[in-house]
């Protein structure tokens, strides 16, 4: 018997001796069965939710409209981003667009990095237009706007001036949380595009407005605390539906317990690989990057924070990808 075999034999004996000293509790079957009776099982139905539908009496044509966001939908093919472009190709810009989605059951902002047509010097307006009109690639996210466009985004006396085009009407009444989030979606997108956290002044066709979907807008609007509005875990690369080669580089931003982002790679319901990575810092939004080797196939990447209490996945962001 060589030494390694001897170690293996000793290890086997030690593990069995050690395990034999553990007595599992006798009533565990009851505990399990109480959790598997049919009435206690959540229905496998697709979960959908609707963003606050425009309040009755809200006369503005720019309204927050119902957006159905479906968790665990069918894998989507990415629309739009690679438009068929012939002849005069408009210049494309890479911008960060914020969308709304659910993070741990709460409405939050999620970033997507998009390539959008943008004339030279108009990248910020293109980003805001995408936030208003261009469907997110990830079907877990949504756009709360309809009937609204952007004229320009520019610097004006130390604030970011976003001039919008819509039929403004009176919209009295306090903004709902959904409406505030919809405005923050534009604030964050404009600020990211200009690389500055300065407040944003919204105007409509050059004219000041008192409120914007119920949010006071006479003064420039400050960005809300990221902790209150951003999703805690956001995967920005690869994009939903992307076809990539192995090793797959996954990037994103997160604000998680002990800077620890957990991940799983699934095929169907099966976890085929899992691990974790660290962000740049705990208790702040900071970037993470992970490299995962995967054989060719279709996968779902699932990045999340493991709950500090019980390790349960929370603040999940998923991306469906194909490895070629």
């Amino acid at each position: 018997m060589n030494e390694t075999d001897e170690i293996a034999t000793r290890l086997r004996q030690a593990l069995h001796a050690e395990a034999g000293r553990v007595e599992p509790s006798p009533d565990a079957l009851d505990a399990i069965q109480s959790r598997t009776v049919p009435s206690r099982r959540p229905a496998p139905a697709r979960r959908s939710w609707v963003l606050g539908v425009a309040a009755a009496g809200l006369a503005a044509a720019a309204t927050i409209v119902g957006v159905s966001i479906v968790a665990n939908p069918e894998p989507a093919t990415p629309p739009g981003d690679s438009q068929q472009l012939t002849g005069d190709q408009p210049k494309m810009a890479r911008v960060t667009v914020y969308y709304l989605g659910l993070s741990d059951g709460r409405l939050r902002l999620f970033q997507e990095i998009r390539r959008v047509p943008a004339p030279e010097g108009r990248e910020a307006a293109a980003a805001v237009r995408a936030a208003l009109q261009r469907a997110p690639l990830d079907p877990d996210y949504g756009i709360p706007w309809r009937g609204i466009d952007v004229n320009s985004v520019a610097w004006q006396r130390g604030v970011i001036a976003v001039d919008l085009a819509f039929e403004a009407g009176s919209n009295a009444g306090d903004a709902t949380w959904e409406e505030k989030m919809a405005v923050q979606q534009l604030v964050y997108t404009a600020q990211d595009a200009l690389g500055s956290p300065k407040p944003v002044r919204f105007t409509v066709d050059g004219k000041p407005i008192d409120t914007f979907v119920g949010v006071p807008a006479a003064e420039p609007i400050e960005r809300a605390d990221p902790l209150e509005v951003q999703a805690m875990v956001q995967v920005t690369e690869p994009a939903e539906g992307a076809v990539v080669s192995s090793p797959v580089t996954v990037e994103g931003v997160a604000n998680v317990f002990e800077a620890n982002v957990n991940w799983e790679v699934l095929q169907g319901d099966q976890v085929v690989k899992h691990g974790f990575t660290m962000t740049g810092g705990a208790y702040e939004f900071s970037p993470f990057k992970e490299t995962i080797e995967l054989p060719p196939g279709d996968y779902t990447l699932r990045f999340f924070e493991a709950s500090a209490e019980d390790g349960r996945p929370t603040h999940v962001d998923t991306k469906t990808i194909t490895v070629r």
Binding site: L15, V22, P24, L29, T36, K273, A306
Partner: protein
């Protein structure tokens, strides 16, 4: 909510039966597996019970006790893995109180050597530890370990040989 008088669909009955059967045959060994990985009997039981609940919900896809057992193992190892990762970072979790000392009849010398070996095992990287416990406690094959951990057979082989080599070196250094 109360259960309705309607008959359960067949898959529900199959799932209930599978839970009962697999529980009788494997609950203890799975909890012990969880304990060897986590060194904490409360967490080990939680992890295994969660695995049974997950298996029940997935029975319509598994439909086979062998597949269901493989699924249970994978759940236990995955969940233990997540917990350990978390603890490694948090390093705050109080360990279980030590198990009762062996009685006077036990071979104390053998026990000490086991303790050294298990301490060395506990110091190994997580993956190596998981591979060694699945191999030498549950007696799983390389293919079964690969399936349980979601890694390749080559990776199982290398974790196993590196883990054993490490144990041997650690023990050699001790007096």
């Amino acid at each position: 909510m109360r259960r309705t008088a309607e008959a359960n669909p067949p898959s529900q009955e199959g799932a209930d039966g599978a839970v009962t059967e697999l529980y009788a045959a494997h609950y203890s060994s799975l909890v012990r597996l969880g304990w060897l990985l986590l060194r904490d009997s409360g967490s080990a039981e939680d992890v295994v019970q969660d695995a049974f609940v997950a298996m029940h919900g997935r029975w319509h896809r598994l439909r086979d006790p062998d597949k269901a057992l493989a699924y249970l193992r994978r759940c236990v190892v995955n969940r233990a893995h997540s917990l350990l990762r978390r603890r490694a970072v948090a390093a705050k979790h109080p360990p279980d109180p030590p198990l009762p000392e062996p009685g006077a009849d036990d071979y104390v010398f053998a026990q000490e050597r086991s303790t050294e070996l298990l301490a060395a095992l506990a110091a190994l990287p997580l993956r190596q530890r998981e591979v060694l416990v699945l191999r030498h406690y549950l007696g799983l094959s390389e293919a079964e370990i690969a399936a349980a951990l979601g890694i390749s057979r080559g990776a199982v082989k290398s974790h196993s040989s590196r883990g054993l080599a490490h144990l041997r070196r650690t023990l050699e250094r001790q007096p």
